[in-house]
Subunit: 259 residues, 2 copies
Amino acid sequence: MTATSTPAGARAAFRGGLAVPSSGWAPGSTQANLVVLPRDWAWDLLLFAQRNPRPVPLLDVSEPGSWTTPLAPGADLRTDLPRYRVWRDGELVQEPTDVLDLWEADMVAFLIGCSFSFETALLQAGVPVRNIEQGVNVAMYRTDRECRPAGRLSGPLVVSMRPVPAALVATAVQVTARMPQVHGAPVHVGSPADLGIADLDSPDFGDPVTVQPGDVPVFWACGVTPQAALMASRPPLALTHAPGHMFVTDVPDAVYRQL
Amino acid sequence: MTATSTPAGARAAFRGGLAVPSSGWAPGSTQANLVVLPRDWAWDLLLFAQRNPRPVPLLDVSEPGSWTTPLAPGADLRTDLPRYRVWRDGELVQEPTDVLDLWEADMVAFLIGCSFSFETALLQAGVPVRNIEQGVNVAMYRTDRECRPAGRLSGPLVVSMRPVPAALVATAVQVTARMPQVHGAPVHVGSPADLGIADLDSPDFGDPVTVQPGDVPVFWACGVTPQAALMASRPPLALTHAPGHMFVTDVPDAVYRQL
């Protein structure tokens, strides 16, 4: 079983216990973030997503108690990710390779779009992705923009930053604007101070990414936004993917590209 | 106070008891469908909307108990529509001009995009809108396509049909595809039988619209879809706008047009 597997092959390997980052597995298939919550808290997240679609683009939401999704028929969301995180009262307590014992009867699974999809689209359009070139995680920052709260969830917009050559900024905007289900167009181009970011070299999450001469920092809404808001509100139990250990769907990336 | 009023002027007139259709009021401002449900049922509708965004494009969802919306600061959703409908166990029981006495502490208000917005855009792009020309309501049909169910909500996709001159079908697709928050691109062009529609002259809702020589029937997802699914599932209490008596927001139609 290799990283160039089919989506079903990748899920079978992860279900068998292989606990590796999913990047590069089943290329061309959309990967998704996972958040699982009791139904009472799921209302808050569903409302937060409706109100903040850029940082929380929902690809699918399960029926309470269900571990299946039409994005990958036959998949089991309790076993088919390479690694999970278990959060109790907002604290990380465990990183298991399945959550069979933790999936309570009213748990609701959220599958949330991931920037892997738009990084592929950028590369295909000839836009270099510096974090991939530099072999590091993308740089992420808390901004001074507040999300619109929903129920118990509130917090700042978190953004990811990718340096883009000035001549390709327009291309980067056009390519990602066509993909609203994976964060869409940038929320900000240039001028980090206007977002309340004091120092690009000190990201709040991920790694610093070197901005090369002629690059402009471009900021996209980031999927860390809902996780940060959620954990700060301390739900009694939440399950998520471990960072980089995503759910591999059967959906081709191209499905999420609009005209 | 006239139909060419501002949005706030229109709402004030309706709040004062004027019970007339809102079509033509505050031109250029987005009008919205209203559905109000107890929170328990609101989960089902929020999930149904996430799964069926074409027929249920959400413009805003209130916090439980709140009658305000950022789409119209200062508005009161309990009084500012020209006429409401009150549904108990799925049956229409009353058509009052306010719902002050009926707004329980956990009621959630859904504001849903309305085809008025895209009909304006079609006219501005030079696409004739036959139902307006003919002075009738749009023709709506139940199809043989099932929506993806959510909780207690299930039912067929309901579509509206507008006859479009063959040379302008592509324009109509392009114009409405840019407005996903008001139903977006057509779901079907031509061939009503493929949707399970036996006779265009016998719509399930609204009025027959004459298809002129050279016109092609074009079908869009329709906001009647969630109302029909909802009433069939008989929630103990639901409040909606009366047909044609919409909520007038402060949001310019242009905001819902993408590039």
